[in-house]
């Protein structure tokens, strides 16, 4: 017993040393990890495992969310299914990994997933400094505001001094700060670490607006709000948010496969090749159609795949227009207009380089 009061004194000098060691260990780790090199054999890994591991959101209706039967569905999900169909011959051979905004990049960097298809905006910082390649644009979005209609705010520029709920780990925070400064609004962000917490705080009345990509706002308004009529998405978009699948650097073959699978779906829409036609293998005299259906020149071998890769992708999910309408467009709950996501020859911005 008499030694007891002495114990804390005995431990003190040791404790400070014990503290300094982990600090420097971590500093050293941080320095070492800055240069990440990856051996690029993603395709071999995918074939060996027999499935594509695809990072998706924890549940953004229309983009990636489990449906009533627990099957993953959405625009981002269909991109992964198309890749799996092209590579493995079966759109069901996908392992979906739900990731929040903060986990997503680490999951891709660490090789936990083969492709990140999770409403992720293409920006210079992300493309150039995180060790990623953005492959293609699958949805052209912009950041907007969801506000309660009872506040009677018609335009985003009238949100002076408002408290705005946002999700952490997104480009949203930075855009909001830029918009607030440019318009001298003094907007106060309230940052939540989960997608759900942000809009729940809006519904509880904690903030006067919720800011996210306009597509996500439509999803929140229609699926999550207590009464969709009580909330409105403001017409102003304050940023460009091109969303698309992302792959790790250092594997050019895999980069090309994901990129050209997306382009194949977009080119198929331009050529009018639907899911049904791809399944039925309707013969065509058009060389462009033949290439896509795998009956003409062999484009697959250039990607390290077989001749019918694009036909299988189309058979699995349909062309880009079908994917859009089924998940977020007219045939879905979200009813988002095509807008800029129409093909270039119909007044939109979707433009696939030629598959030849």
């Amino acid at each position: 017993m008499p030694t007891l009061p002495l114990l804390p004194r005995l431990f003190r000098p040791m404790r400070s040393w014990a503290a300094i060691v982990p600090i420097w260990t971590f500093a050293a780790l941080a320095l070492l990890s800055s240069d990440q090199a990856h051996a690029g054999k993603t395709l071999d890994g995918v074939r060996q495992r027999g499935q594509v591991t695809c990072g998706v959101s924890t549940g953004v209706a229309g983009f990636s969310a489990p449906d009533a039967k627990g099957r993953w569905a959405g625009l981002d999900v269909d991109i992964c299914r198309a890749v799996a169909a092209a590579v493995l011959g079966d759109g069901e051979k996908v392992h979906f990994v739900p990731l929040n905004a903060q986990q997503r990049f680490a999951a891709l960097q660490s090789g936990q997933i083969d492709v990140l298809s999770r409403n992720t905006s293409w920006t210079l910082t992300r493309d150039a400094s995180l060790g990623f390649h953005f492959t293609a644009i699958t949805y052209i979005d912009g950041q907007g505001f969801l506000v309660p209609t009872k506040l009677k705010v018609p335009r985003a520029t009238q949100l002076k001094g408002a408290q705005v709920c946002v999700q952490s780990g997104t480009t949203t925070e930075k855009n909001l700060a830029d918009f607030s400064r440019a318009n001298k609004l003094g907007i106060k962000p309230i940052v939540f670490d989960s997608y759900e917490a942000g809009f729940k705080a809006l519904f509880a009345g904690r903030c006067q607006a919720y800011s996210a990509d306009a597509s996500a706002l439509a999803s929140v308004r229609s699926k999550e709000s207590p009464n969709p009529a009580d909330y409105a998405v403001l017409p102003d978009l304050i940023s460009k948010e091109p969303l698309g699948p992302v792959v790790r650097r250092g594997d050019d073959e895999w980069f090309a496969i994901v990129k050209w699978t997306v382009f194949a779906l977009q080119e198929a829409e331009e050529l009018g090749i639907t899911q049904a036609q791809a399944a039925a293998m309707k013969p065509s005299d058009d060389p462009a159609v033949q290439r896509l259906l795998g009956t003409g020149e062999d484009m697959g071998k250039l990607l390290g795949l077989d001749k019918a890769w694009s036909q299988r992708a189309l058979k699995a999910v349909g062309h880009y227009g079908e994917v859009f309408e089924r998940n977020v467009g007219a045939q879905s709950l979200l009813k988002l207009p095509r807008g800029a996501n129409r093909p270039w020859n119909q007044g939109g911005l979707m433009y696939a380089p030629p598959l030849r």
Binding site: L4, P5, L6, P8, R9, R12, R15, S16, A19, P22, I23, F26, A27, L29, A30, L31, S33, S34, A101, Q102, F105, A106, Q109, T125, R126, S129, L130, L151, L159, K160, G161, A162, Q163, C165, S168, G169, T170, E173, K174, L176, A177, D178, S180, R181, I187, K188, P189, I190, V191, F192, D193, S194, A197, G198, A201, A204, G205, R206, Q208
Partner: protein
């Protein structure tokens, strides 16, 4: 050391509440982290005081002669100790945010003190053109502006941490007092010491020996537990650190910075408590 250059880059994001610091998106990342650290301390320090007071009250109630006080204290302490802190934090937040009036129709609880979903606003000295003056909060279109203000996020984090740690401290205090041998107290009484003298000279020096180290642990836990604040949107060190991590992509570096700062805070707390304990131990040790 290009790895750490990002600390000097402009942050690019705003922070909802900045406490005593001023912060703008154009300021560097290290400054944003400093604001986060400031917010962590701003919520932890009042919570430390409140938790100690609450712990003392609960411990006193538990040792009271009245059966109902004992029952009340026991049930509060047990209920709070047995529910995860994260849930308690969310409950406090939901209660505050659901029950309070909207920010555009705040209620004035006292002259100049407004309570709403936007938080608690109160008069606060501010430096204007004519030197220091009291700034009074006023109701504006969306919310109350001016004066000093704490948000519901701040309030819920502070309350949750205080109550949770208070319940544990109550147990620490009780066990510390109960650990003092009754015969020592009886001996003091036999020697003719007054009740106050027994408490001051015999009970407390003995009890504090067991109480202080265990209290240190609880204080350390409180500061570390404040990192749960991110769940209710309070911009503490972890929240700002996460945002930085996502804007810069420097995951390992950001986590290392956060760990180092928490470590520093814990070491400081621990050192302060050890200094206090050393003084106490000497005093009691000679008896």
């Amino acid at each position: 050391m290009s790895t750490w250059d990002f600390l000097l880059q402009p942050a690019g994001f705003d922070i909802g509440e900045t406490g005593l610091f001023a912060f703008e998106a154009t300021q560097p990342v290290w400054r944003a982290l400093l604001v986060g650290l400031g917010n962590t301390l701003r919520v932890s320090l009042p919570a430390l005081v409140l938790a100690t007071v609450l712990g003392l009250l609960l411990a006193l109630a538990r040792g009271s002669a009245s059966r109902s006080w004992r029952l009340l204290s026991t049930s509060v302490v047990d209920a709070v100790r047995l529910v995860p802190l994260l849930l308690q934090l969310l409950i406090w937040y939901l209660l505050l945010v659901e029950w309070l009036p909207d920010a555009n129709e705040a209620m004035q609880v006292l002259p100049g003190v407004w309570l709403s979903k936007g938080g608690l606003a109160f008069p606060w000295p501010a430096r204007g053109d004519a030197g220091w003056a009291w700034s009074w909060p006023v109701q504006e279109t969306f919310n109350v502006q001016g004066g000093g203000a704490v948000t519901p996020e701040f309030l819920s984090v502070m309350l949750a941490l205080s109550v949770y740690t208070g319940a544990f401290l109550a147990e620490v205090f009780r066990s510390g007092i109960e650990a003092v041998s009754a015969s020592l107290l009886e001996a003091a009484e036999t020697l003719g010491a007054t009740r106050w003298q027994v408490i001051r000279r015999v009970l407390l020096p003995q009890a504090l020996r067991t109480i202080v180290p265990a209290t240190t642990n609880q204080y350390l836990n409180l500061v570390k537990n404040s990192s749960l604040a991110v769940a209710v949107g309070y911009p503490d060190l972890v929240s700002v650190g996460n945002t930085t991590l996502n804007q810069t992509g420097r995951a390992v570096e950001c986590v290392a910075v956060m760990m180092a700062l928490y470590l520093a805070m814990s070491l400081l707390t621990s050192a302060a408590m050890n200094a206090f304990n050393a003084r106490r131990a000497l005093q009691g040790g000679e008896a």
